[in-house]
């Protein structure tokens, strides 16, 4: 139970070194008490306010005690309390503006801060250690299917001996064990078996005893362990005399030699550390994969370290490449595993950052528009203040403070919402990752809390302040500019000189364009969710029970499996699951049993293929879905073949490269032509070189199966149902999906499935046992999340656009009351007056829609390139309907000002003119 990270970060920044522990202790004590008494959400909000108050007090204490001349000058120049009071009064006086501004800024901050937090966490993780950004991981990639290869003991030993650009090189692996005290409670803990060098990389000293030492790694030495703070508190009641205690860790009896400080879970989310004892004499004997970590040497870049690792790999493979598609690299530790270059990752990160900045700019521009309208309405007051001697700087400061107060209120609301959004997304993420990954350790590392980091809060604060400056100072400078005195003279006669210029037109046009582009994306995501709900399985999916089967509870083995390592022959997952299938099929209540690589309706891998042309056919490349099935799968699912034949036992024995395609494949890829006997191969996007195409394995199509569901949609867009089925490989990577057709309710069979599996092979792990029609759950949840985000973005953009249009037209009407009065007095046609007044709004709406269509076109092109999305006739019809409605809604915002314009009484308008 820790207070939000950014509160502690904030206090660390302002407190003197000797005050830090004291202040953080206070905050933690109060936070825990509030959590217990008033719940977590209230505790987070109150702790935030407390931390801000305490930071302010600490800062002012240092600030007032300082003799620095710059600070003295700043003390003289700071705005008065009255300015802030006036700012608060303005919030009450213009409630409409306050609500629109607060909602929009708060939304921008919520979205931006959450986005930034996760991007930073996954791409530039901030390990809470000294020079944590210099900690790296050494990895090998198989680029052919973008997966990490397992790192063996041999790899580790060779890398450690060969690398000079990194300092300490260490290795670890993760296991889950029971930790049992002789005279106390027991618990399941995540254990890091790690080398002393890997432990040292964190450079964090224990609070009690010692850490792991090299001498602990010697085979046959005393077994020792280091406890995490939480484990020490929960299982040992924070006993200060714990050092030297003997405990049972799994099958090993070990002595506690140290306790680590709070919030330390290096390298991921570990509770306990034990020495890793590798068989250096026989490295090939090591069964499980390692993770290798290191610290970059002084002045060494990631690129240099990667180059050196590549050279070491070449040397290990006799001067050649380790394999055509294998690449070793050095990446920042904790980063989401992606085989991208640093430049590509930086592009990704700064792209996300730019979205945040662009969103804030857009929102601030809108608030600026509204503030400008408000400032214009106060032109007389400002001019009078100037006449009474207020300097331009003083007036600008006051107007800036007013916008700052507005932005600060919005930012506070936004940060609280962002905190809640972080908790929501972390929960959703954990749920989704638990659904899609086989690891039973935390998917989030120890340094990634569910709260906002201090850096994000500061970043949001800076942007808010800049936004407030932009929204407050620009209108203020414009109003207090050189034309102030002539306007002061006109103010006396009720005339005004301010106008909305090209800048404001651009702001409104951009907002309309964003509304036009975002709303269809939101609708698209919603349609995607509906599509997932209505997945046409093509067979009675609800009659089948499914289970994901992997082997061995050991996390490292599971991770190996995830990375594609196969188990030794005879004990392979393939053999074990086949035996399980055979045993289950003996049960008379089981009608059929089969195994699948992916469940119908659940996400499938998508790969580019090339169907080899026959005669003068042009090369045919397409992205299709890929799955693997057993030789009896289609029969078990009750799905018939449309043409050709099903897989049979001989296909596996002969090892022929044969595939079956579905009906959509024939329709979309082959244009309805016969598929039987055609050959295809996998290729890169857009196709490889001719030579490469020749060397790639060729697969012969032996049959066409009736269409059953593969993925119907990604979270972004619907996907085509064209698919290929391979025969399930004997080296299949975990997990394999076991599918049972029972004569009873499938859910009621789950306990028997568990029991049969346990009897047959206790190392088999069965997860996510459920009826097959629930296989779309994870995708649906992800799609819903995406829909929520896009819809909220579209709704806020729409509110902003309409508020902007309303502000401009209202402003125009109020400025032109006299003109309208004169025209009405002279007998002008009301339609001409409406046209004259609203010509500008019409132009803006027209330009906005044009820009939005272009933007939408760009998005759709990106969807096409990345997800293979194609605009269907139905979608086009909906889009045109939407584009027809947008101008009507936009012009709806003009109705109130228009009514006001037409009700202007000539006599009153001319009387006001004096």
């Amino acid at each position: 139970m820790r207070p939000p990270r950014w509160t502690t970060w904030l206090l660390r920044q302002v407190a003197e070194p000797d005050e830090v522990e004291d202040v953080l202790g206070d905050i933690e004590q109060l936070y825990r008490r509030r959590c217990t008494r008033r719940g977590r959400t209230v505790a987070v909000v109150l702790t935030f306010l407390e931390a801000v108050d305490l930071s302010r007090a600490l800062f002012l204490a240092r600030y007032d005690a300082s003799d620095d001349e710059t600070l003295s000058a700043a003390r003289e120049a700071r705005p008065s309390v009255l300015d802030f009071k006036l700012g608060l009064r303005m919030l009450r006086r213009y409630p409409g503006l306050t609500v629109v501004a607060v909602v929009s800024i708060a939304f921008a901050i919520t979205l931006g801060a959450t986005n930034l937090e996760y991007n930073t966490a996954f791409l530039y993780p901030r390990l809470p250690f000294a020079e944590g950004d210099r900690i790296v991981e050494l990895r090998r990639w198989d680029l052919s299917d973008t997966r990490l290869l397992p790192t063996t003991t041999r790899d580790f030993i060779d890398w450690r001996a060969g690398l000079r650009s990194v300092g300490e090189v260490g290795a670890f692996r993760t296991v889950r064990r029971n930790l049992i005290r002789a005279d106390g409670p027991a618990g399941s803990v995540v254990v890091a078996e790690m080398t002393a060098a890997a432990f040292e990389i964190a450079r964090v000293p224990p609070v009690l005893g010692r850490g792991l030492l090299e001498s602990d790694e010697v085979a046959g030495g005393a077994d020792v362990l280091v406890l995490g703070h939480e484990t020490w508190q929960t299982l040992f009641d924070a006993d200060p005399g714990v050092i030297g205690t003997d405990v049972q860790v799994g099958a090993v009896r070990a002595t506690v030699v140290g306790v680590m400080p709070p919030d330390f879970g290096w390298p991921w989310a570990h509770d306990v550390w034990v020495p890793l004892r590798l068989s250096e004499a026989d490295p090939e004997a090591e069964p499980a994969a390692l993770q290798v970590v290191a610290r970059l040497g002084p002045g060494v870049s990631l690129r240099q370290a990667s180059d050196e690792l590549a050279a070491v790999e070449r040397a290990r493979h006799g001067g050649g490449e380790p394999g055509q598609s294998v690449r070793a690299d050095v990446a920042r530790y904790g980063r989401l595993p992606m085989p991208f270059s640093e430049a590509a990752l930086a592009g990704l990160y700064f792209g996300a950052l730019q979205i945040f900045v662009a969103l804030m700019l857009l929102v601030c521009a809108n608030v600026m528009l509204l503030l400008y309208a408000r400032t214009s309405a106060r032109e007389t007051e400002i001019a009078l203040r100037a006449a009474l001697g207020a300097s331009r700087a003083r007036i600008v400061t006051q107007l800036f403070v007013e916008s700052l107060v507005l932005a600060a209120v919005a930012a506070t609301v936004g940060l609280c919402c962002a905190q809640l959004a972080m908790e929501w997304t972390a929960e959703t993420l954990l749920e989704l990752m638990a659904e899609t990954a086989s690891l039973d350790e935390s998917p989030l590392p120890f340094w990634q809390g569910s709260g906002l980091s201090g850096a994000t809060v500061v970043w949001a604060g800076i942007l808010t302040t800049l936004g407030a400056a932009l929204a407050g100072i620009v209108p203020a400078l414009k109003v207090t500019g050189p034309g102030l005195h002539p306007r002061l003279q006109r103010a006396g006669s009720g005339r005004y000189g301010l106008e909305f210029g090209a800048l404001w037109t651009a702001v409104i046009v951009i907002q309309i364009a964003v509304t036009v582009a975002f709303v269809p994306l939101g609708i698209g995501a919603g349609m995607g969710t509906a599509l997932i709900d209505e997945t046409p399985f093509g067979f009675a999916a609800e009659e089948y029970l499914t289970a994901e089967v992997s082997a061995d509870g050991d996390l490292t083995a599971i991770r190996d499996a995830m990375r594609g390592a196969s188990r030794p022959a005879g004990t392979s997952l393939d053999a074990s699951t086949r035996r399980l299938a055979d045993r289950l099929s003996e049960d008379p209540t089981v009608r059929a049993v089969t195994r699948l690589g992916h469940l119908p309706g659940a996400p499938h891998p998508r790969r580019w293929i090339e169907v080899h042309p026959v005669g003068r056919e042009p090369p045919n490349r397409r992205r299709v879905q890929v799955s693997s099935v057993d030789s009896n799968s289609f029969t078990a699912l009750g799905v018939s073949m449309v043409a050709g034949r099903d897989f049979d036992g001989s296909d596996r024995e002969t090892g022929d490269a044969v595939v079956i395609v579905n009906e959509e494949f024939v329709r979309i890829v082959l244009g309805g032509r016969s598929a039987i006997g055609r050959t295809l191969s996998y290729t890169r996007r857009g196709g490889g070189a001719a030579a490469e195409a020749d060397t790639a394995p060729r697969y012969r199509i032996i049959g066409v199966v009736r269409q059953i569901a593969m993925s119907t949609s990604t979270i972004h867009a619907p996907v085509e149902g064209a698919g290929i089925y391979h025969l399930l490989d004997a080296d299949a990577s975990a997990p394999i999906r076991m599918v049972l057709h029972t004569s009873t309710d499938p859910t009621s069979y789950a306990p028997r499935l568990h029991a049969t599996s346990r009897d047959l092979d206790p190392t088999l792990q069965l997860q996510r046992i459920r009826p097959m029609d629930q296989s779309t759950w994870a995708l649906r949840r992800a799609s819903e999340t995406w829909f929520t985000i896009l819809s909220a973005a579209g709704a806020v953009a729409a509110i902003l656009s309409l508020a902007g249009i309303f502000a401009v037209t209202s402003f125009t009407v109020s400025r032109r009351t006299r003109d309208i009065g004169v025209r009405v007095a002279l007998g002008a046609d009301p339609r001409r007056i409406v046209r004259a007044v609203f010509r500008r709004a019409l132009n803006q709406v027209g330009m906005g829609i044009g820009g939005g269509v272009v933007l939408l076109g760009v998005f759709m092109w990106m969807y096409h390139v990345n997800y293979g999305y194609r605009l269907t006739q139905d979608h086009l019809g909906l889009l045109l309907l939407y584009l027809a409605i947008v101008p009507l809604v936009c012009l709806g915002a003009c109705v109130a000002p228009m009514t006001r314009a037409l009700s202007v009484q000539p006599a009153e308008a001319l009387r006001a003119d004096g």
Binding site: G25, E50, Q233
Partner: protein, 110 residues
């Protein structure tokens, strides 16, 4: 040596510290004590800065206590009132008492 007198909030902090004693008086407990006894909400920031001010004036001294689990294993900074601090409390309360002598507040307010 002239004895300092204390401001309103400083006096409350000093009295709370005296009540709690040197082994239990620190920012959170002092704030709690004042809230409980006076019924007024107390901002920890004010307690913190008041303690800093009082320490600068030499009216209290501070030291780190034992690590407490409810503080995430962090030690509180315990407050001890110095002799000079006790004198300041006595002077301030004496002044208040002197000003209140012979005043019938109930009658005056009524």
């Amino acid at each position: 040596m002239s004895t300092r007198s204390l401001a309103d909030f400083e006096l409350l902090v000093m009295l709370a510290a005296i009540r709690l004693g040197g082994d239990a008086a620190y920012t959170v407990s002092i704030g709690d004590e004042i809230s409980t006894r006076t019924g007024r909400p107390v901002r920890r920031a004010n307690v913190f800065t008041a303690l800093q001010r009082l320490e600068r004036k030499g009216l209290i001294t501070t030291r780190l206590g034992e690590r407490l689990p409810e503080r995430g294993g962090r030690p509180p900074r315990l407050v001890t009132v110095t002799t000079q601090g006790l004198l300041a409390v006595r002077t301030t309360t004496g002044a208040i008492q002197a000003m209140m002598d012979d005043l019938d507040l109930v009658e005056d307010v009524g």
